[in-house]
């Protein structure tokens, strides 16, 4: 039996504070139940130490990053699960309602396809570019942020680069 890598309470506090800042800054919320959040953050750090990437603590990572890109936290399923259930699969991220104490996070079904069906649905890349778009797609040259609108924002909401640096991608 292997041992889970050690994670100190200080490491958990520091990571939890950073994730909390990042979440709130981007319009997300961490689970207000501190015992749950700290347990999950410990798992994220332990996974980073043993696998080299912060795989979801509530999913069984295989240790091969290319097979687990979809479950690196925040996972591909977080936003659809937040929209449908008010929490992500492990319940690290929760909705406004749950963050505000109006509801509690409950276990939800696994949205990740089983291993046998995964490659086609997750790793397929779209090669065809649609010929007509209702808006141009603009790209931030600094961080790659894309937006579909007639003119760029004043500043990139992700990296704060000036809007005039944006270029039309298609």
């Amino acid at each position: 039996m292997k041992k889970l890598p050690d994670v100190s309470e200080d490491e958990i506090s520091a990571r939890a504070a950073r994730l909390q800042d990042e979440a709130e800054h981007s319009g997300y919320h961490l689970n207000p139940d501190v015992s749950v959040t700290r347990h999950l953050v410990r798992g994220l750090i332990a996974n980073e130490k043993r696998y080299g990437y912060q795989a979801c603590p509530c999913r069984c990572a295989g240790g091969r990053k290319e097979d687990d890109l979809d479950i690196i936290c925040p996972c591909n399923y977080r936003d659809p699960d937040l929209a449908e259930y008010g929490a992500c699969y492990c319940a690290l991220y929760v909705s406004d309602r749950i963050a505000g104490g109006l509801a509690e996070a409950a276990p939800i079904p696994e949205r990740r396809p089983p291993g046998s069906e995964r490659s086609e649905s997750i790793y397929r890349q779209e090669n065809a570019v649609p010929s007509a778009l209702p808006y141009p797609v603009l790209r931030c040259p600094v961080c790659g942020y894309l937006c579909a609108r007639d003119a760029p924002p004043e500043h990139c909401p992700i990296c704060h680069a000036m809007g005039e640096r944006f270029r039309k991608l298609f």
Partner: protein, 91 residues
């Protein structure tokens, strides 16, 4: 296979397949302990690679999606921390 055994009241064979980092698995284990039943559990993520493969194949038989926790109570299989369902199965 290295199942850990928790002593308690004998309610037949109760097996918990869990991940050591998963909070739903933790809560499932806490619930079983709170109910005072004897059960075995295994942290699948802490197994050596060859052993892990065998256990995941088993888990997939009970739960094709391969998610955790999986709780076997006799012939019944419960996937996920469904507190009421677990309590009912042990009532």
């Amino acid at each position: 296979m290295e199942f850990e055994r928790i002593e308690g009241a004998d309610r037949g064979r109760i097996v918990l397949y869990a991940l050591s980092t998963c909070q739903w698995c933790r809560r499932t284990k806490e619930l079983l302990s709170e109910l005072g039943v004897a059960f075995s559990y295994i942290y699948v993520d802490l197994l050596e690679e060859d052993e892990m493969k065998g256990v995941i194949d088993d888990v997939t038989k009970y739960n094709p999606r391969g998610s955790f926790p999986v709780i076997r109570i006799g012939d019944k299989v419960i996937v996920g921390f469904h507190e009421e369902e677990i309590r009912e199965a042990l009532a």
